[in-house]
């Protein structure tokens, strides 16, 4: 193996280690959150302990000394809890959660290339408090203080004889191919040979082993991680593997010198109790999985997008050459379109994550916010396994965090106020996710005071968001809380900020094509309901022409399509123009206005009735409808630049680019701007 190959392997293993850390940290958070409801559950403390232990073990193998030190300290405290010396309570869970955050920070720092990390002293002090007299003993110089070995044994610094052979530690990761066994060798022999060199600690990663029904007995699924403490040289280890060829892959790394003080003393390691391999939660789905770099999945999504575009090109050429749909070529192309469609849906599903990852973080937010506001809040999570595209999930965390904080700070009343109102002093906050009509719905429901429409109206007038006397229905009044700078609280709090939140929430959700709805009942509570697309990669839309150019309008925003009669458009005053529709009228926007080019309105014969998230409608006038289809979304900023009126773009079968309408923009700035100029048109 060349030095270059070795470095590549090491980098790959480091990445796997960080991935595993992320998994352990997620599990840690999950178990800590669950521990709050079941403080007596010893299995949860055991799992938490194993998570920290697992991170520590890996960190030691890579010489991440600060991570080893902190996780060891954390683990020592957890050990006291799992042994029953100490009891879990709200305060200890708060400390554990802080420690989990600290662990996340250290892992993140090392992942980003850092080599040292200093944990906030108050966190360390909190932990040492639990260790009691052991921790309060006078400590020697700081560098020598934490001379713990990676197995969790503490020992005092020892004088080392210069001539005495020095021990070294090696981390060895072993994977074997089926051929290894076919030619008569066995992993058992290798491990015995390593044992002959010194003391070994073996951990087996069995996650990849299929269930009996699916296993192929000749295949090899296991990976072994060995920590070898030996006085022998590196060459002695290499000799064991020399004759294994490519059938056995051994990645051997020396535990670096800076971790030297964590070396195992000549203690009887064999007698040390080792923990079973970390099983990631008892509720975990036990299915065979393959770890794949997310960038590869993203690339696959992009490639399938290109495939969809090519499919469109074939169909476009077929139409141009008048190839009948019921011809052999036509039926093959139709079958291929279906296959590509299925392929696309499958790959997009591969990129979907359970919303649990976001909900778990919110558990923390609820606890902290409740503590800061001195309120009692019970969090109920539903539909945590609902899957959402990763690209959406990444952008969902911040707005949800803000909404949860708001719900507790502004929605749920203090225990005293609730008691006076005859409510349970403990407020209820329910987070719920589910699928409906091809979209993901996330609800944030509280049983607090509910929104006060009169108060919101007054505040909006005071803030000059609306004019006094302006007639608004209840839903329109509720939606005022999403206006920039709106806040109904008399005092700015540390929790929900200064009224700059909800407009940002709305904008953030719009960026992921999300819509938000409010329903509220005074004194009973509020439900914020967020509707999200399953993916941002594909959009179902109607393609239309205006002034010779192609555009797409998302199908979710089209509530009706009618023939447009320009002579019926009428002036309704104050620069506004309308078009009769059912029992009322609609504001009018011409698609040609988007292009800022002179247009012949006689060509404009089709009217889309477009609806936004507030169920407001407008008439959007175009020349001609081309087709309804699924379109692969291309980011404008990445490929060109941001263009007002358009959220994204797509590439059509003929290679042309079609812009996809930003409907919210049409209802916002554009409607206001264009209404005045429409006076000249009609």
């Amino acid at each position: 193996m060349s030095t270059e190959d070795f470095t590549d392997d090491m980098d790959a293993i480091r990445l796997i280690f960080f991935d595993e850390c992320d998994e352990q940290l997620t599990l840690l958070e999950e178990e800590l959150t669950a521990l709050e409801d079941e403080p007596e559950n010893g299995e949860k403390i055991n799992t938490i302990f194993r998570c920290v232990h697992s991170i520590k073990g890996g960190a030691a193998a890579f010489g991440m000394e600060d991570l080893v030190r902190f996780s060891h300290l954390f683990e020592s405290v957890l050990d006291r809890f799992r042994s029953g010396e100490l009891s879990v309570n709200a305060e200890s869970i708060r400390v554990f959660l802080k420690c989990k955050d600290a662990l996340s920070d250290i892992v993140s720092d090392f992942k980003n290339g850092g080599s040292t990390y200093e944990v906030a002293p108050e966190i360390t002090a909190d932990l040492e408090h639990y260790l009691g007299s052991d921790a309060s003993e006078p400590e020697p110089a700081s560098e020598e203080v934490r001379t713990e070995d990676i197995f969790g044994m503490s020992f005092a610094p020892v004088k080392i004889e210069i001539d005495a052979p020095s021990e070294q530690q090696f981390s060895i990761v072993l994977t074997v191919s089926p051929e290894f066994y076919e030619r008569g060798d066995d992993i058992r022999n290798i491990l015995m040979a390593l044992e002959g060199l010194g003391q070994i600690k073996v951990q087996v990663d069995s996650d990849a082993v299929p269930l009996l029904a699916d296993i192929s007995p000749g295949q090899s699924y296991l990976t072994w991680q060995i920590l070898l403490t030996t006085e022998k040289s590196r060459e002695s280890i290499d000799e064991i593997f020399d004759w294994c060829g490519d059938d056995l892959q051994a990645v051997i790394t020396s535990v670096p010198e800076e971790a030297e003080q964590t070396k195992i003393p000549s203690a009887p390691v064999a007698e040390e109790k080792t923990d079973p391999p970390v099983r990631k939660g008892t509720e975990r789905k036990d299915s065979a999985t393959v770890r794949v770099d997310i960038q590869r999945i993203d690339k696959l999504v992009d490639l399938i997008g290109e495939l969809v575009i090519n499919q469109g090109a074939i169909q476009s050429q077929m139409r141009r050459n008048k190839v009948p749909g019921d011809s052999f070529l036509g039926s093959v192309v139709t079958a291929q379109e279906q296959l590509i469609h299925e392929l696309q849906e499958n790959v997009i599903t591969m990129r979907a994550y359970p919303i649990k990852t976001v909900f778990q973080k919110l558990g923390r937010v609820v606890r902290e916010t409740a503590r800061l506001t001195e309120k009692q809040v019970r969090l109920v999570l539903e539909g945590e396994d609902t899957e959402v595209d990763r690209s959406i999930l990444e952008k969902l965390s911040d707005p949800l965090t803000h909404m949860v904080r708001n719900a507790i700070d502004h929605g749920i009343e203090s225990p005293e106020v609730r008691a006076q109102a005859g409510k349970d002093p403990e407020g209820l906050l329910r987070l719920r996710a589910f699928q409906r009509s091809g979209r993901i719905i996330v609800e944030i429901q509280d049983d607090g005071a509910g929104l006060d429409p009169d108060r919101i109206y007054e505040k909006a007038v005071e803030k000059k968001i609306i004019e006094k006397g302006q007639r608004l229905d209840r839903e329109e009044i509720y939606s005022l809380i999403f206006e920039p700078g709106f806040s109904t609280v008399a005092e700015v709090t540390d929790v929900s900020g200064r009224g700059v939140g909800m407009d940002v929430v709305k904008q953030s959700l719009q960026q992921i094509n999300g819509r938000i709805f409010i329903s509220s009942s005074k004194g009973k509570g509020t439900i914020f309901s967020i509707s999200l697309p399953f993916t941002l990669s594909v959009i179902e839309g109607i393609i239309f022409k205006s002034e010779g150019q192609d555009f797409v309008v998302p199908i979710n925003n089209v509530s009706d399509t009618i023939i447009f009669d320009n002579s019926k458009a009428f002036h309704i005053g104050e620069g506004k123009y309308g078009y009769p529709y059912r029992d009322g009228y609609l504001s009018v926007i011409y698609a040609s206005d988007l292009l800022d080019v002179p247009s012949d309105k006689k060509n404009q014969k089709i009217c889309f009735v477009i609806e936004n998230e507030n169920e407001e409608k407008m008439a959007f006038i175009v020349d001609k409808i081309i087709d309804q289809s699924r379109f692969v979304v291309k980011n404008l900023e990445d490929n060109y630049r941001k263009i007002a009126c358009f959220s994204t773009a797509t590439i059509l079968g003929d290679g042309n680019v079609a812009f996809i309408l930003d409907v919210e923009f049409l209802f916002g700035e554009l409607l206001k701007k264009r209404e005045s100029s429409l006076e000249e048109r009609v």
């Binding site: 074997v176 066994y181 076919e182 008569g184 066995d186 992993i187 058992r188 491990l191 015995m192 044992e195 073996v202 951990q203 087996v204 069995s206 082993v209 299929p210 269930l211 009996l212 029904a213 296993i215 007995p217 000749g218 090899s220 699924y221 296991l222 072994w224 080792t274 079973p276 391999p277 036990d286």
Partner: protein, 89 residues
């Protein structure tokens, strides 16, 4: 409930028949390791798979009368959890 007597050699050659025997176990995995003199990597893997299957099904997994050699071999390969499994996996 039937007890599956394990042979002296759980080596590479035995992995295939071992997998077939384990697949026939309807629900509980109760194995007798008193005669085992050696456990190889592939059979170790089969035991892990049976353990995981039992976990998945909420069924039992237990190796009884473990011989010293089997214990040492399992420990050597990191299989302490197989030794500790009793009743429901």
């Amino acid at each position: 409930m039937s007890v599956l007597m394990l042979p002296e050699l759980l080596d590479t050659k035995y992995a295939l028949p071992f997998s077939e025997l384990l697949k026939k176990e309807e629900r509980e995995f109760v194995l007798d390791g008193s005669q085992v003199g050696r456990v190889g990597g592939l059979c170790f893997q089969m035991l892990v798979s049976a353990y995981r299957t039992a976990q998945m099904q909420g069924a039992g997994f237990e190796i009884r009368n473990i011989s010293d050699a089997m214990r040492e071999n399992l420990q050597l390969m990191g299989g302490d959890f197989l030794l500790e499994a009793k009743g429901d996996a």
